[in-house]
Subunit: 152 residues, 2 copies
DNA sequence: CTACATTATATGTACCTACATATATTTGCT
DNA sequence: AGCAAATATATGTAGGTACATATAATGTAG
């Protein structure tokens, strides 16, 4: 079993097919990467989905987003955005106000405090991306292309 | 934004780098694939980690595994194997007995019922793997190689 | 042989996801 | 206008993960 391979990671030397191995490899790699992210966010008292929402809101440059619009942009669409926003409101990182035009909707907006927290995180996120230094940019591009193709 | 791309999936046209896009793509693809698996297992009243443990135990061909040995072989190592085994015991799909040589350990073993359930699932799992029909075997191999390399 | 560290598992808590259902508001139909 | 369908969000519950801590059994140093 090659060092660093998925076979070694889960002590499973024989997969039925290259496709089955790929499924396991995707789950395993996602968990591996997610754990690194989680460790980073932890020192800022954020969880990955909380960070995801904060970063989406920052991208809005002050404009609010509804809960539905947040879900639309989230990595894990089955996240319960409503309750994650709850936590962020408690920490005063976002504000929630009822939309005046459509009172079913809420407008979620990042606060100054939220923006400052993200600014502190930025350099760490950037260097986290260099986690991938073992891949060339061309290899990263190939991975992106093939992952998109897989989901077709 | 290309159809089926990660950019489209999370409505994010600009990534800082190919590496940052790759991180998001891995998380998104893992969730996408995981949801398909979950849907399949659901009709058999199993969750993905429950299935993972059952399949590991089947691979033992009757030999038991300790909880630690299970974690070692699981895709998500931070799973709480102890509590997942609880659920499987309740459903009589596995048995748990104290190890006579080392009474700290428990021996977990798949039951006949557990094996039968997996047999019923087998054909569905096989056809699920063909979810990847959009990739050639060579492309799957490339993905596996690059994912292993990424984690180095 | 006793005291202490180590190991294997279990449990408590906070947060998250999955799914079903509830509540409030708006839209559309007649 | 009046009422049903659609929409946006919230909430209850079960299962799961992350992390700290507890409990029990074993190993080990002196």
């Amino acid at each position: 079993m090659k060092k660093g391979s998925i076979e070694e990671a889960i002590r499973q030397p024989n997969f039925k097919s290259e496709y089955q191995k790929l499924a396991v490899n995707i789950f395993y790699t996602s968990a591996w990467l997610g754990n690194r992210h989680r460790d980073l966010f932890k020192s800022f008292d954020l969880t990955p989905p909380q960070f995801n929402i904060l970063r989406i809101l920052r991208g809005q440059k002050g404009q609010p987003l509804s809960v539905n619009a947040l879900i639309d942009r989230m990595i894990d669409k089955s996240s319960n955005a409503s309750r994650i926003v709850d936590k962020l409101v408690e920490k005063k990182l976002v504000e929630r106000t009822t939309c005046p035009n459509d009172r079913r909707q809420v407008e979620v907006r990042i606060t100054l405090e939220g923006n400052e927290l993200l600014s502190q995180l930025d350099p760490f996120i950037d260097s986290m991306d260099n986690t991938f230094a073992s891949l060339t940019e061309q290899e990263a591009k190939t991975l992106n292309t093939l992952l998109d193709k897989l989901r077709q």
